[in-house]
């Protein structure tokens, strides 16, 4: 498996390359997940206010 | 000057703003004092080595000018906003961009022009040679109106907001970068006894661009802020 360890080693630049790709993953994931959470919160918030208004 | 004419309105507004400012002469000194103080802080902070001061002088003076401009900008539309005259400007038959130009001119005469007068003193504090001082005054003369014009757009966008002053810096400082770069570099180049015609031309171009576009943007922003 020297191919894999060489790949991970990235010619000595492993830290720089993998940190960059890792940060990219985190940033893109966070930016994509935030609207998902927000949509759920919005829908439940609107549902609650609809129920409240109906109960009045 | 016929009553109701555009030039009449322009001059009237200019006179009014200048008179209002002169009634509070003490307040007019503040941006100037700030400018001087901030510049004077630098030798205290980084040491008085003449060569070092001469190297950083142009940049320091210009950054101080940017900050002084920002500080004074907040009041351009504020008092008019609070007493309702701003809405009257928007309702008038005259193009708002011209009225805006009058206000910005008044603002520059009150806060920008004094910087020009004080600049030679600061040049001495930071050990700038004579040629550099002349160019410093020229760059301030060309650059401070641009600061007022661009800043006016930012103020117009934030005039109705509670913490408008803090956001103003965030909005306006990135837009100030070209002026800072060309102006500070012009003074450095002059200090090295090299020709600065190119820099001055660029600054003039920025001024012309700002004069033509920013009143329109400011007027549009005022309409939006007051809607």
């Amino acid at each position: 498996m020297s191919g894999l360890s060489e790949f991970l080693h990235m010619g000595g630049y492993a830290f720089y390359v993998w940190t960059s790709y890792g940060i990219a993953l985190v940033v893109l994931l966070a930016t994509a997940l935030s609207p998902i959470r927000q949509r759920r919160k919005l829908l439940s918030g609107i549902a609650r206010s609809v129920r409240r208004n109906r109960a009045q | 000057m016929r009553p109701g004419s555009l030039s009449g309105a322009f001059l009237l507004l200019l006179r009014r703003d200048l008179i209002l400012a002169f009634r509070r002469r003490a307040e007019m000194i503040n941006p100037l004092l700030f400018f001087i103080l901030v510049t004077a802080m630098f030798p205290l902070g980084i040491g008085a080595d003449p060569a070092l001061l001469k190297a950083v002088g142009p940049g320091v003076i210009w950054v101080a000018a940017l900050l002084a401009a920002l500080l004074s900008l907040d009041g351009v539309f504020r008092s008019d906003f609070e007493d309702g005259s701003l809405e009257q400007f928007l309702l008038s038959a005259h193009p708002v961009s011209i009225l805006v130009l009058a206000k910005v001119l008044a603002h520059w005469l009150i806060t920008g022009l004094p910087l020009l007068i004080v600049a030679p003193l600061l040049a001495v504090l930071l050990n700038l040679p004579g040629t550099a001082t002349t160019v410093l005054i020229i760059t301030l003369a060309l650059g401070t109106p641009v600061l007022s014009l661009i800043g006016a757009v930012g103020v117009a966008l934030t005039v109705g907001l509670r913490k408008g002053g803090m956001i103003l810096s965030l909005l306006v400082l990135p837009l100030y970068v070209p002026v800072l770069i060309f102006a500070a570099n012009a003074v450095e180049t002059a200090a090295a006894d090299l020709p600065v015609m190119a820099h001055v031309s660029l600054l003039s171009a920025l001024l012309v661009l700002a004069l033509s576009l920013s009143p329109i943007a400011t007027a549009a922003s005022l309409r939006i802020s007051l809607s």
């Binding site: 010619g11 630049y13 990219a24 893109l28 609207p35 | 965030l170 939006i224 802020s225």
Partner: protein, 245 residues
């Protein structure tokens, strides 16, 4: 027929539904292009003879920088459409784009900095492109801050549209001035961020990642737009019916 479709598209409930159907497909396409880009970039592309394997950061850095500018243009364009034609949807897309553009800009800056460390030995260099990116980040943050500071959504949309337009006019000026400033203050080092002729085995992953990032933007902007629409239209009939289903 096209104008009728455009009109329909401009209606928030219609857009909400249609966007909802597109999002999964765009996400899948993004995943495929990313895998292709990563495989060709990390495995197939050979090491650079000068930079070794560290140049592979480019496959993230350069597309992120391209997107940071692209998204700003879209934001300014959509903002002007909202200003001129009062299209609600244009306003929505404009403000939904801002955080995405800011993320790309941040990513370009950080990967640029990390790439710079092995190349130039320091974490930050006032390279012309990085400095311009930094200012672009401030422009984005300004748009986001202004939007958050104004309570009324429509006023906020129109104010940020003007700010974005002023920014768009300034971006070439800022870029030119920074580049000029940099050539004066730069030492003898030459930036290695783009080589005059790039090996095709390095070009392909670059382009694949560029497409992937565009698909990412399309996916996420639709997702954020749906949230923005729900927020704006929360008191309308169609949203109430949507919530009940």
């Amino acid at each position: 027929m096209i104008t009728r479709y455009f009109h329909q598209l401009a209606s928030p409930p219609y857009f909400y539904r249609i966007a909802g159907r597109f999002i999964p497909w765009l996400a899948v396409a993004f995943a495929l292009f990313t895998l292709a880009g990563l495989y060709t970039g990390l495995v197939l592309a050979p090491p650079d003879y000068q930079q070794g394997d560290s140049y592979r950061i480019m496959f993230i850095h350069v597309p992120a920088a391209w997107m940071s500018l692209f998204v700003y243009m879209v934001m300014a364009g959509a903002g002007s459409m909202g200003l001129i034609w009062r299209m609600k949807l244009a306003e929505v897309v404009a403000i939904s784009s801002a955080p995405i553009g800011a993320s790309f800009t941040f990513l370009a800056l950080i990967t640029g900095s990390i790439w710079g460390k092995p190349m130039w030995g320091t974490w930050w260099v006032w390279d012309a492109r990085l400095t311009s990116e930094l200012i672009l980040l401030f422009l984005y943050l300004g748009v986001i801050a202004l939007h958050n500071a104004i309570d009324d959504k429509r006023t906020a949309a129109r104010a940020t549209a003007i700010l974005a337009l002023v920014g768009v006019v300034n971006i070439p000026i800022i870029h030119y001035s920074v580049e000029w400033w940099n050539t004066l203050h730069q030492g003898p080092t030459v930036t290695k961020f783009d080589k005059p002729s790039i090996d095709v085995r390095m070009l392909i992953p670059l382009l694949l990642m560029a497409v992937a990032f565009k698909l990412y933007y399309a996916t996420v902007v639709l997702m954020r737009s749906r949230c923005e629409i729900l927020e704006r239209e929360r008191n309308t009939q169609w949203v109430k019916e949507l919530v009940e289903s």
